[in-house]
Symmetry: C2
Subunit: 393 residues, 2 copies
């Protein structure tokens, strides 16, 4: 029995060539048997109803394709470094086979990355690519419909560092340059330049050593910047509707892809509300305290405290997606606007999915004097960011 | 007389405060007179019909806004490095004033770039940003509607060079790395990985010295890759419809922005056809020959020859946008598929706007043996791109 994969317009057919018969010569069966896996063929089949007296083992289809002519368009190597079937297997399948005494091959991450062209053929990886494309598309369509403009920002920036943390340095025709860690300052300057609402989708670079499972040296950043009319809650309103839209549309449009990913890497649907839960930092600290977890009420939350709070929120509010806002000023960068009613807190927020922070946001200080004051309080050298401070003048 | 700019939801109002009167105190006029240009204010006006007996000089509006209360939200510097009015002036205006003996300030490119935050407030620059955003949006929407997926490709790539030409080199944790000059190889590998149609929008980097007016070290590349069913003309069909859609939608959606740009930098509307003209390289060479321009029929066209051909095409076909295809094999990169009927030519094309090449495309060789043969013929070291050749096996 030989399996060949026939490429078509977005679908894959498995042909089972079993015997010679009407229109199928012994020669053709031999030819097909000699084809290597992952070869590309053009097949000309006849659609027919299966003979109930002579069922093909393992098939449950209501129609069969009887191949009459078959051409090999591109021949693959006799032995491929990895097989798509092996790369598609879930851990559960491998474990179950092991219980039956069968050792199935497991494809490790290194091997996958070395033969990425084959690895991305798995249904799960095809689904991941598709969903990644859709997340960008929905993000963009939502913001365009809310009167945001997409802007390009420089990735090559002058100087040896952007703000002190680890950057990739390079030589720009004899001058020091580095790769941008975020489009933040450029976004803000666009707002100064009378673009009311902008967003940036593009690569950002972090030359940090990888200590967490969320770390990447290069990733696609989705950045939003907007003019606030009255209050920073306007930004949370946008974030709320934006993410609920992304979740809703993905659930509607990508059911097939979500299933493909889930069958290899099982996961449960995300619990979220049509109107996203908002808690103040003080409320979050109180929930942790009530559960016996002591945290600094004017400091940042540790990763463990964030996870714990995620569990508490899920238990109390039945959601895995929420916004925590009004962070302590001391826990935020120098450019964050203090709260008008209490300068120990700030006009800022983080957004969490399953206890992991996925977005940070806040109102920026737009008054040069206050910005200089906060720089000094936070130990930031005013001279290195004079162009940024000047832009607010 | 004092002008203040009032920021509103996407519009700008010029208030002319002339005299005290009903609801306007001497104190308020003094306060407004003391505000610097580009300050941000909240104004609470009353809408009224102008008094025909007492018209405000220079206004032709049918309504007036009488400011009753005015708060300064953010005060600008007393003297700004450049004024938006100066930065908005066309060369023609400056020339016309000079004829009248008035020397108006001209803002040079260096000054604009040094004070970009103010420079991007000109109507022309606002229009350029908007159109840039729209080009990306239309490009993307068209391709998504044609079943393309957007994919991210790495910008940080291993090794010291991608293909020999000038790249930005950097140190990746002790290993040599460089910035990607194009997403081409990744796009192709995505196609090998069963994504039928993909596109990439993102920064590309070229460490070349700038000798032409089209050169940039960093720019946004719009890249498309698709599976061909039968013939490379399928790609030209997509390019044709894609660009005609971009032109049509820009003309419909961005009339205001095109006018704003044109009033500072005059230009004529682009001449293009609903169905884009296609000429073979041989036909182009013949047109040049008929006009007395001799070119190598199996070599590449020089920049001057391309411009000349653009003029000839405009004269004969009344279009400034066309596709030239079936280029000589010797003029294209090693990975370009030769024509089946004549191996001196190739399955490739360039697209021209006003005599300038804006796109290059072609069918890639997918057979490893032919690819190795072409590498050797073009003097490319097979070992340096083995991962690429292997992906076709």
């Amino acid at each position: 029995m030989v399996f060949v994969v026939v490429r078509g317009k977005g679908f894959t057919i498995q042909c089972v060539v079993t015997t010679e018969g009407e229109g199928v010569s012994r020669q053709m069966v031999k030819f097909v048997a000699g084809l290597n896996r992952e070869s590309i063929v053009d097949a000309i089949p006849v659609v027919s109803v299966p003979d109930p007296k002579n069922p093909i083992k393992g098939t449950t289809q209501q129609v069969e394709l009887h191949v009459r002519k078959l051409y090999c368009v591109s021949k693959a190597m006799p032995t491929l470094p990895i097989n798509v079937e092996d790369a598609s297997r879930s851990d559960a399948e491998i474990e179950a086979a092991l219980q039956r005494g069968v050792q199935l091959p497991r494809v490790n991450q290194d091997t996958r990355l070395n033969f990425r062209v084959i690895d991305i053929r798995t249904r799960a990886n095809q689904g991941i690519f598709r969903i990644q494309s859709q997340v960008g598309t929905i993000f963009r369509q939502f913001l365009l419909s809310e009167d945001f403009d997409e802007i390009p920002t420089p990735k090559l920036t002058p100087g040896s560092s952007e703000g002190g943390s680890a950057v990739f340095k390079l030589d720009y025709k004899g001058q020091p340059a580095c790769l941008a860690q975020s489009p933040q300052l450029y976004k803000q300057m666009a707002i100064c330049g009378e673009k009311d609402r902008v967003f940036v989708i593009g690569p950002v670079f972090r030359a940090e050593d990888s200590y967490t499972h969320r770390h990447l040296c290069e990733f696609t950043g989705l950045d939003v910047e907007m003019e606030i009319k009255k209050h920073y809650s306007e930004v949370m309103d946008i974030v709320d509707r934006l993410f609920v839209t992304i979740f809703d549309v993905l659930n509607g449009r990508c059911q097939k892809e979500l299933e493909a990913i889930g069958s290899q890497y099982p996961f449960k649907p995300l619990k979220y509300k049509p109107k996203t839960l908002r808690l103040t930092f003080e409320e979050g600290v109180q929930m942790l305290k009530d559960a016996g977890v002591e945290v600094d009420p004017l400091g940042d939350l540790s990763t463990e405290a964030e996870r714990k709070l995620g569990q508490l929120v899920l238990g109390k509010y039945d959601t895995e997606f929420y916004i925590l806002h009004r962070y302590p000023l001391a826990a935020r960068p120098f450019y964050t606007m203090p709260c008008y009613d209490n300068a120990l807190y700030s006009n800022s927020f983080d957004v969490f999915i399953r206890g992991e922070e996925i977005i940070s946001g806040g109102q920026r200080i737009h008054e040069p004097e206050l910005l200089i004051e906060r720089c000094q309080a936070c130990g930031v050298d005013v001279n290195t960011i004079s162009y940024y401070i000047d832009s607010f003048k």
